[in-house]
């Protein structure tokens, strides 16, 4: 039997997802996701807590940390492929 390391019990629990998702977003002076559909369920975006950009090769990615009021999600918009993905949940 193995016991968890002392830090494991208190690690912020992010789960990697990396699923393509459908998003309703407002494109007006930037991009703002309003709601998204993941695994058949629709989640409202109640708050965008943080945004940041990154590159994956030549593709520009825009990351959104959003909450539906209960769970924190990281949504990613790939500006080259114009596709959205759900990178992780907390």
């Amino acid at each position: 039997m193995t016991f968890p390391e002392p830090w494991e019990a208190c690690h912020s629990m992010a789960t990697e997802i990396n699923d393509h998702i459908q998003v309703i977003a407002v494109f007006d002076n930037g991009i703002r996701p309003a709601k998204f559909k993941w695994r058949g369920r629709t989640y409202p975006v109640k708050e965008i807590t943080y945004t940041w950009g990154s590159k994956d090769g030549a593709a520009s990615l825009v990351h959104f940390s959003v909450t539906d009021g209960e769970t924190l999600f990281e949504l990613v918009y790939n500006a080259s492929s114009m596709k959205w993905s759900l990178e992780r949940t907390e």
């Binding site: 390391e5 690690h11 992010a14 940041w52 590159k55 924190l72």
Partner: protein, 403 residues
């Protein structure tokens, strides 16, 4: 002006995740063995410090929450902070990912006093990013950095020319930027503990004891610093290009070590080729589990940035080392850099090799690092423990995109 983002990585994570706000958190790398890179102010109250391993940090603060850092977030945020600063001064020097100097000389007529400019910068950082910073304003960089350290978090401290003597008189020398623990101990042996004592100490003895920096130490004690703010793009050319990684577990198997060296050599070669640099010297760095760290070097007959040449040199260095224990960290770098002037290679084989490297770099540039990689690495492509180096800069060869 000196700007220091407060508990930068931890503050970004708290801004991202509302459930972490007001709670003791520590940002750690993605690998289990990496150390605390930043602790939130709530965690610092319990004594959690940068560099602690997870066990030590947890012992200091049982309710500590570990958050795996995402360097892309911090790099982008740093660039956005710098963009704000650039609206106020053309002379911005990036000191690290969370610190910068700005020369506000001549900006007042248009933008207001340095205090007004600083308040405006703080407000824009707060409203657009949800983060706080500490700003120090002073006649030079040494004093501006001292001022920003005086009030954290969310401070704004001004040291005016006429207040310098009073501010420094009883200040411990270790508070000055550039005076570390070893220099502090050496100065203490001379009976110098405060900046006032340093300013009054005979320059001849400081010169005799510390050589060329002796004179500068005395000036520092008086708060004198003539170093200019060096704007981005005008910094010294990079002296080396390197990558290192803390291994997921200590490794003694040489074949496994070689796989890591190949990956590091590819990262070094790719970055050097991207910036048209070649190195005449290859350095291999190793760290044992007890943190004893050492480097060995090898000179090349002609400058190179080919992954295979860098890797073979690193291997040749490794073969000359009798490892005493397993290895905890590996690093590869090239130095004695020259600009790759793309002189036509004489032999067809070398030309084909250059075209191959160009093609690989171009594909990886478009589709992401290691999309096209060495077969040796295919089954061992674990993510490295990416750490943002203190030498990180927002542009040029020192911009390293680490996840």
């Amino acid at each position: 002006m000196h700007l220091d983002m407060n508990a930068f990585f931890a503050s970004v994570e708290q801004a991202c995740n509302p459930t972490l706000r007001g709670r003791p958190i520590a940002v750690v790398g993605s690998a289990k063995r990496t150390v605390v890179t930043t602790a939130s102010y709530e965690a610092r109250l319990y004594g959690v410090k940068t560099g602690m391993n997870r066990y030590e940090a947890k012992k200091a603060c049982p309710s500590l929450i570990f958050v795996t850092g995402d360097n892309r977030k911090y790099i982008d945020t740093s660039v956005r902070v710098l963009d704000i600063l650039k609206d106020y001064s053309p002379a911005i020097e990036v000191y690290s990912i969370d610190e910068a100097f700005a020369d506000l000389t001549g900006c007042s007529a248009l933008l207001g006093s340095p205090e007004e400019i600083s308040r405006s910068i703080k407000e824009r950082i707060r409203s657009s990013l949800g983060l706080t910073c500490s700003i120090g304003i002073a006649p030079n960089k040494l004093l501006a950095k001292l001022a920003s350290d005086m009030k954290k978090p969310d401070g704004l401290v001004v040291i005016r020319e006429e207040d310098v003597g009073g501010a420094l008189k009883d200040l411990p020398v270790k508070e000055l930027w550039g005076i570390g623990p070893r220099l502090t101990s050496h100065l203490a042996l001379l009976g110098v503990r405060t900046c006032g004592e340093l300013a009054d100490f005979p320059a001849s003895i400081l010169r005799e004891r510390f050589g060329i920096i002796g004179e500068r130490l005395k000036l520092m004690g008086r708060g004198i610093d003539s170093s200019p703010v060096v704007p981005a793009g005008e910094e010294e050319e990079a002296k080396s290009v390197g990558h290192s990684t803390t291994l997921p577990k200590d490794v003694s198997d040489r074949e496994e070590i070689k796989r890591y060296l190949l990956k590091l050599s590819e990262m070094v070669g790719n970055r050097a080729r991207g910036h048209k640099l070649k190195g005449r010297r290859v350095t291999l760095t190793l760290r044992y589990p007890d943190f004893y760290t050492f480097s060995r070097q090898k000179s090349l007959s002609c400058p190179a940035n080919d992954t295979r040449v860098i890797f073979q040199s690193a291997i040749s260095i490794l073969e000359g080392i009798r490892l005493k224990t397993a290895v905890r960290l590996l690093g590869v770098s090239i130095s004695e850099l020259t600009k790759d002037l793309k002189q036509m290679e004489l032999f067809d084989g070398e030309r084909r090799r250059e075209r191959l490297l160009d093609a690989v770099d171009s594909i990886n540039g478009r589709f992401g690092d290691f999309t096209l990689t060495w077969a040796t690495l295919l089954e061992h492509n674990e993510p490295s423990a990416g750490v943002i180096s203190p030498a990180w800069r927002p542009a040029g060869v020192k911009r390293v995109n680490v996840r």
